[in-house]
């Protein structure tokens, strides 16, 4: 038994879960800021990203050091590679939260469309659930649970398409139109967070099976789950 290697793997995995919980906090906070036009909170979300970046870098450096010294192979190697990918996916999710916070600051004086804000709340809840499922199924090496992320993602995708349709129907008021265009980006951010959660699920399947495959493939089966709407 390679005790040092196992300890380092455990530490990396714990750090990844920690990063995931930070991302969840950022997502909740940026949605609260958006709903309540809370500029202070939006600024906090933006500043909070430094903390997530620090965790990201810590994991990155840990992996670099582990690869240089421990030469992991087989399931250990796959775990390290999966953490490397998941780390980046989580960091990207956090960046989307920052984007939402910045958009919140840009639109805080514009009129709000309650229906749309309600739609975002729903999307954000789903994104949160997906992050949790992604992290839990990775921790438990539960491939079937990870695969369920595809169905959850489909719901976010649908909501995203509804937002686009709704914004197109907003009409000619320039203020509302500007707000609507920015809200399309918010919607897109939430939709992308869902995509990254699916990608983490794919890493779980890779870790368990040793073969990478995409759960859905936008470039090969058009019309199934167009993740890149």
């Amino acid at each position: 038994m390679r005790v040092t290697l196992q300890e380092e793997l455990d530490q990396l995995e714990a750090a990844l879960q920690e990063e995931g919980s930070l991302v969840l906090r950022a997502l909740q906070a940026c949605m609260n800021a958006l709903e309540q036009s809370d500029l202070e909170l939006a600024d906090e979300v933006i500043a909070f990203d430094d903390e997530i970046d620090a965790t990201y870098l810590g994991i990155e450096e840990g992996i670099q050091s582990l690869l240089a010294r421990q030469t992991p192979v087989a399931v250990d190697l796959r775990l390290v590679l999966a953490i490397l990918h998941d780390n980046l996916h989580l960091e990207r999710m956090a960046d989307y939260c920052v984007t939402i916070a910045k958009l919140t600051k840009l639109v805080h004086e514009a009129p709000q469309d309650e229906a749309l804000v309600e739609g975002f709340r729903e999307m954000a809840n789903r994104a949160e659930e997906m992050i949790r499922v992604a992290l839990d199924s990775f921790r438990d090496r539960n491939v079937s649970r990870a695969e369920a992320l595809v169905d959850l993602d489909e719901l976010i995708d649908r909501a995203n398409r509804r937002v686009v349709g709704h914004v197109l129907s907003l009409g000619g008021d320039p203020d509302l139109r500007e707000w609507g265009l920015r809200m399309i980006i918010v919607s897109r951010c939430l939709e992308r967070i869902g995509d990254h959660a699916v990608d983490i699920g794919e890493q779980t399947a890779y870790l368990a099976s040793g073969e990478f495959r995409e759960f859905t493939d936008a470039s090969h089966r058009p019309g199934t789950t167009p993740r890149d709407l």
């Binding site: 390679r2 290697l5 250990d76 040793g210 090969h220």
Partner: protein, 291 residues
């Protein structure tokens, strides 16, 4: 990300590569492997106790094949079968077949001396003769009566073993004046001087320092263009670095008699063994959880 293997022809049009080029590339990617040794149901026993049981595998020409596994798994016993070294142990018995170029290596018409000329062996500890560097290399050719162009033959063997530049000015010096790593390359050169087909290496670098080890590994990489190399190694990372194919052997313990027998657990391309082995026992071994 598109699936690279089953990607349709469309990307070819995008980058301006025509399909025949892609097809050729695909063919290139598929390894072309000639079977050099075909081992089937090989069992080796010492005093009627099997040390290695029911091994079947194919060794491919111009590749490096590594045997790994814990102590007592029979990997050294196995490699010694390829040049009939076990013949020298009176109690050893070999059952099953090893075909070499399609010929049964243990067939009655096969001359074991001829076998050892064509299938050379390098051991864990460098074992030069107590002679000069030159005479070590010239020994084999002289025994075979190859008297013409001996100097050229010696130089060629030393060059191929990447030793020439280090020894060309002191060929008459004793082989014992060389460092351990140099002595090991001398032993490799001594094998090469009789123009073998196969090099068997039983832990060729385990007694060497890291720099000399790298030199031997680089040499294996060079030599596989002209020879087929089979190596036994305790160092898993060495197998991962140098081998095209890796066979993992393990030990089976009979609870009643407490007899330990080597078995072949898994044989596959090296990247598969070290990224996604098919057998749990292989995984436990390569990840260091067992053995």
């Amino acid at each position: 990300m598109p699936d690279m293997e089953s990607a349709p022809a469309a990307p070819a049009r995008i980058v301006g590569v025509d399909e025949s080029v892609l097809a050729a590339r695909e063919q290139e990617a598929a390894p072309r492997r000639d079977v050099l040794f075909d081992v089937s149901d090989l069992t080796v026993s010492y005093a009627e106790v099997p040390a290695l049981r029911d091994v079947s595998l194919e060794i491919y020409r111009n590749q490096v094949t590594a045997f790994i596994g814990p102590s007592g798994c029979g990997k050294s016993t196995f490699i010694r079968c390829f040049n009939r070294m076990n013949d020298l142990i009176p109690s050893a018995a070999v059952a099953g077949t090893i075909l070499y170029h399609g010929v049964d290596l243990y067939g009655p018409e096969v001359d074991s001396v001829e076998v050892r000329k064509r299938i050379g062996m390098v051991f864990q500890k460098p074992n030069p003769f107590p002679k000069s560097i030159y005479d070590n290399i010239a020994f084999g050719p002289r025994v075979l009566g190859w008297k013409d162009g001996l100097d050229d033959r010696v130089e060629r063997a030393l060059r191929r073993a990447a030793l020439w530049d280090e020894v060309k000015n002191r060929l008459k010096a004793s082989a014992y004046s060389l460092s351990g790593g140099q002595q090991q390359r001398l032993c490799i050169a001594r094998c090469l001087a009789v123009e073998p087909d196969v090099l068997l290496m039983d832990e060729p670098a385990s007694a060497l320092d890291p720099i000399s080890t790298t030199a031997i590994e680089d040499l294996m990489h060079e030599l596989k263009r002209d020879y087929t190399i089979v190596i036994v190694t305790h160092n898993m990372q060495q197998a991962a670095r140098v081998a095209d194919m890796t066979a993992f052997f393990s030990v089976e313990v009979d609870e009643e008699s407490d007899r330990r027998t080597g078995i072949l657990v898994e044989y596959d391309e090296t990247p598969t063994i070290f990224t996604n082995p098919g057998d749990k026992r292989t995984e436990d071994y390569v990840t260091g959880r067992f053995g």
